[in-house]
């Protein structure tokens, strides 16, 4: 019997791939195309920025030719007010109610501001958005965001772009254990093993940008992280053995031969 990947419902989307691909940091649109193909991602994130005649609308044109859904983000916003307007711009541009809500507190650590994030989540949820809330790995904040109407809660493993992995796995486990909305590990993943750990901790999906887009060979890392995500998902469902203090033989003790010496 083949193990299957059940689809996960994130906002208005039903996805069999549990790797959400961030396009930020990619050296070119060609690389974005390659990593989408290599990872088989079905959802990719984008930012909204001022129209540049030189760039035209090339990323939009590229993504429309591929079988992926697009999740706009509010990256670069530091207040709920800015984030709400940016989310509405994303809805207009891409005709989607899904929004990755990012409201940051500081340029240096890029950590989310929980107070502004909560305000923006409430306002956008009331306005019909499916809010994918990017948050700290704090179980209390995660719970509060869910109560405020977040459709998906996305705790960080480590600050954006650091590749430091999951610094507080126990917090992620607590967030998963209490959640009744999907949990997506966002930010901090540095390589394939981190994605597997996130899924083993019980996350429903992972969001990865820099670890792939800034890898030496992005298409290889895209494939590796996609496989690790799938492996971690199946590993979680397979059910790990309990950890023991002392060894437990896997070969039977009965029927052992007796030899001299």
């Amino acid at each position: 019997m083949e193990a299957t990947l059940e689809p996960v419902k994130l906002g208005s989307l039903s996805l069999t791939s549990r790797l959400i691909l961030g396009t930020g940091g990619a050296p070119s649109n060609q690389i974005i195309k390659e990593i989408i193909v290599a990872s088989k991602a079905q959802l990719v994130t984008v930012a909204l920025r001022r129209y540049e005649p030189r760039a035209a609308n090339s990323l939009y044109d590229l993504l429309r030719t591929m079988e992926v859904s697009i999740l706009p983000n509010t990256a670069g916003c530091f207040t709920a007010k800015e984030a709400v307007v940016t989310a509405k711009m994303g809805r207009e541009a891409l005709e989607t109610n899904n929004i990755k809500l990012e409201v940051l507190a500081s340029d240096k650590n890029l950590l989310p501001d929980p107070y502004e994030l909560l305000d923006a989540t409430e306002l956008l949820a009331m306005d019909g958005f499916n809010v994918f809330a990017y948050t700290n790995d704090d179980p209390v904040v995660a719970r509060t965001l869910e109560q405020a109407g977040a459709a998906v809660v996305m705790p960080l493993g480590a600050p954006i772009g650091t590749g430091l992995g999951i610094r507080n796995p126990h917090n992620i486990e607590m967030i998963v254990a209490q959640a009744s909305v999907p949990i997506v590990l966002d930010a901090g993943i540095g390589s394939a093993s981190d994605a597997a750990i996130a899924m083993e901790l019980g996350c429903d999906a992972v969001l990865v940008a820099s670890a792939i887009t800034r890898a030496k060979e992005p298409h290889k890392m895209a494939r590796a992280i996609a496989l690790a995500t799938e492996a971690g998902y199946l590993s979680r469902r397979g059910g790990r053995i309990p950890k023991r203090e002392w060894a437990l033989a896997s070969s039977p003790n009965d029927g052992l031969a007796e030899f001299d010496g």
């Binding site: 396009t23 984008v46 930012a47 001022r50 129209y51 307007v85 711009m89 887009t213």
Partner: protein, 67 residues
């Protein structure tokens, strides 16, 4: 002609230019872009109705790489 502030820079458009007209003047496709005037998002359904006024601050956004 009137002057508006388009993405932070002065930009000339004929009087009574609508959002739709502005987009046409720039030569943009309408998909994948969004426009706010004075921080208010203008839905595409209103693009043919909404006229620009002198010194309106227009933000014209499109999608770009992002995580």
């Amino acid at each position: 002609m009137i002057e508006i502030i388009l993405n932070g820079s002065a930009y000339q458009v004929p009087e009574l230019t609508t959002i739709d007209g502005l987009v046409e003047q720039i030569g943009l496709q309408k998909k994948g872009v969004a426009i706010a005037v004075n921080s208010e998002v203008i839905p595409k359904s209103n693009w043919t109705e909404k006229s620009l006024l002198s010194q309106d601050k227009v933000e014209l956004l499109t999608i770009t790489q992002g995580g």
